[in-house]
């Protein structure tokens, strides 16, 4: 239970991150600081209640070695100047708390800014998938034998295929070059289109079970139509299941987004996304020499673990399709 609450709290913080996006870090996610290319993270220091960081000095331009210039300090404020973390605007050097990439862009700003795209598209896609899943589940449970057969066989077939491959094939059928906004809309729709099978199966099962209960019988006796019975009286019983489904769908779609962006079919540069950022870090030499480039992987891991914790124990997830039960 504690783990579940901690996960839920973390998940709420992550949602805040979508809202804040580019306002988390001292710099914009697009701004380039050429002198700070490959700069390592600058430690945040505190003295007497004030936060500050020492600027970095470029020691060797070719080897890209840096050292802290302890003779100078840049003041850092929290919740100031419209940012979560704000640096002294008069300072000549940038504050790079998680280091910089090959173009000298702030990794912290990019990880936070990417949350808006990567998490945003996954959350939108998950909501769409829930909508489709709940509708089809209700149709299967209340729409007669043929509708049930169609929904069940479609969901079985779709769930058997790897989601990443379906999304990849559908995405590749669209124009290869799209604007970030178009990519967002396309991916969210694709996620909604392919993510519904488990939700539909779960909702169908819950509705079939609920339909046999006395309150459903009472609603029927009072003259409720078949669809009214499904959507108004029975569907609320599936709300707990839908919340759990949502928490499990989001990390799944995040992986799909990361895969597509990594392969160049997702969000285009310079739009920050966790997938494109991981692509920059995917070289073993980069990993060893600039491990801070792996920050998006840490963000991805944290998000995924938080959402799974918030979803709680979920043994029955996989077994929705199991016949041996």
């Amino acid at each position: 239970m504690i783990a579940r609450r901690a996960g839920a709290a973390l998940a709420v913080l992550l949602l805040l991150l979508i809202a804040l996006g580019d306002r988390v870090a001292p710099n914009s996610s697009m701004q380039q600081f050429p002198d700070s290319a490959w700069a390592p993270p600058m430690p945040l220091r505190a003295s007497g209640g004030d936060l500050f960081a020492h600027p970095l000095r470029l020691d060797d331009r070719l080897a890209r070695t840096f050292s802290e210039d302890t003779s100078r300090r840049i003041d850092v404020d929290l919740f100031a100047r419209g940012r979560l973390i704000a640096a002294d605007p008069a300072a000549a050097d940038p504050v790079l708390l998680l280091g910089a990439d090959a173009l000298g862009r702030d990794i912290l700003a990019r990880v936070a800014g990417a949350a808006r795209w990567s998490l945003g598209v996954s959350v939108t896609g998950a909501l769409l998938a829930l909508l489709v899943g709940a509708l089809l589940g209700a149709v299967a449970a209340g729409g007669g034998r043929l509708a049930d057969r169609v929904v069940v066989s479609m969901s079985t077939g779709l769930a058997a295929l790897p989601v990443v491959y379906i999304v990849l094939a559908l995405r590749a059928a669209l124009p290869l070059v799209m604007t970030p906004g178009q990519v967002f809309a396309a991916l969210a729709l694709l996620f909604g289109l392919v993510g519904w099978p488990l939700t539909a199966r779960g909702v169908r099962g819950i509705l079939l079970r609920e339909r046999a209960l006395d309150y459903a019988e009472a609603a029927r006796a009072a003259g409720a139509s078949r669809m009214r019975l499904m959507f108004v009286h029975l569907l609320p019983a599936a709300s707990g299941f839908l919340v759990t489904q949502f928490l499990i769908l989001v990390p799944g779609f995040l992986i799909s987004e990361v895969t597509l962006s990594f392969l160049g079919l997702g969000f285009p540069e310079p739009t920050p996304s966790w997938g494109t950022m991981l692509q920059d870090a995917s070289n073993v030499r980069v990993m060893a020499e600039a491990p801070w480039m792996l920050a998006p992987a840490a963000a991805l891991a944290l998000t995924s673990v938080a959402l799974h914790l918030a979803a709680g124990p979920r043994e029955d997830q996989l077994t929705l399709f199991s016949r041996a039960r």
Binding site: A3, R145, D148, G157, A159, A160, L161, P162, V163, V164, Y165, L168, A169, L170, A172, A173, L174, P175, L176, L208, P251, L254, I255, V258, T259, F262, L263, L265, L278, A281, S282, V284, R285, M287, A288, P291, L294, A297, A298, L300, A301, S304, V305, L307, H308, L309, P313, R314, E315, Q317, L318, T319, F321, S322, R323, A324, R325
Partner: protein, 314 residues
């Protein structure tokens, strides 16, 4: 499994392969741009391009193309790749075994690991159980790509990747990254199934007859509980296959994922459909194998299936 039932399942599997691969073919053909755009970019004459379009069946209508594909599929002739100018079957024969090796190693190790992990979860005392349980939750929620990056970082820092003969290290890390999330999830499934099996009346009856705890857990209950893990295996394998795409790209493992990606981007219609057919055929075969294995392990399934056939549910 009755002969009729087996026959129906195989027919359904073949239909599934034909449907999904045809959908992929239509999707790739309808996508904006086609393969001859690259020829036009190379400033070849319209005459040459028209002849090339005819040779590659690109001048055919969609129903015609679908017919060519389906009649070819029935003869296991998957057409010719535009991009590689080679029969699709030979390309798949070259790449698919590499993906199969990666994915099947991960699936088998994940199942073996999950059976041990889940059984231990049932047996362990409280502090150990909590650690094992937290580890399972963490493992199942970490994406394979994150685990792979962490492993690669560790290997690079340890200097394993700089030594001569590190060729197998990276694929092994890939397998580990693929199997960990699956093993964590399956361990939970197995734990639950084992607890339920041990709570059934026959388990109590066996104990009463003097069967030892070890035989009860590791032989009798394991056999029944394992059916749950095996019945979800096709889904888990599909997940692992999905994750293997990125693992293949990052580790430079020339499998079917990379081939499919190149085919999709190049609008290589028959290669896309061929890769899809190979992937769906593998998934369908696995589903059939899992069904057969479950029926062989748990004799009760047969009677349930017989009941279902006689009197459909609902």
């Amino acid at each position: 499994m009755s002969v009729l039932r087996a026959f129906r399942k195989i027919a359904a599997a073949l239909l599934f392969v034909a449907l999904v691969s045809t959908a992929a073919l239509i999707l790739a053909r309808r996508a904006p741009g086609d393969y001859t755009d690259t020829l036009r970019a190379a400033r070849l004459s319209e005459d040459v391009i028209a002849r090339e379009r005819e040779r590659l069946h690109l001048d055919r209508s969609l129903p015609d193309l679908t017919r060519i594909w389906l009649t070819g599929l029935a003869r296991l002739d998957l057409g010719t790749s535009y991009r590689f100018a080679r029969p699709v079957t030979s390309l798949i024969a070259e790449r698919a075994p590499r993906t199969l090796a990666l994915v099947s190693a991960a699936v088998l190790l994940a199942i073996a690991g999950a059976l041990l992990w889940g059984t231990w979860l049932v047996h362990a005392r409280r502090p150990v159980r909590m650690v094992l349980s937290a580890a399972a939750t963490t493992a199942l929620s970490l994406p394979s790509i994150v685990i792979l990056f962490a492993l690669l970082l560790g290997a690079a820092k340890a200097g394993w990747l700089a030594q001569a003969g590190h060729g197998m290290v990276i694929p092994l890390l890939g397998i580990l990254a693929l199997l960990l999330p699956a093993a964590g999830g399956l361990a939970r499934v197995h734990e639950q199934a084992l607890r339920e099996a041990l709570a059934e009346p026959w388990a109590l009856a066996s104990t009463a007859r003097g069967v030892s705890a070890g035989v009860l857990v590791w032989k009798l209950a394991m056999r029944i509980a394992a059916t749950r893990v095996i019945s979800v295996m096709p889904l888990v394998a599909a997940n692992i296959l999905g994750a293997s795409l990125l693992v293949e790209v990052v580790t430079g493992w020339a499998g079917i994922g990379r081939l499919m990606l190149d085919a999709l981007v190049a609008r290589d219609v028959f290669l896309v459909a061929g890769c899809t057919a190979a992937i769906t055929a593998a998934i369908a075969a696995l589903a059939l194998a899992s069904d057969a294995l479950v029926a062989a392990l748990d004799p009760r399934i047969k009677s349930i299936e017989a009941l279902e056939t006689a009197e459909p549910a609902r």
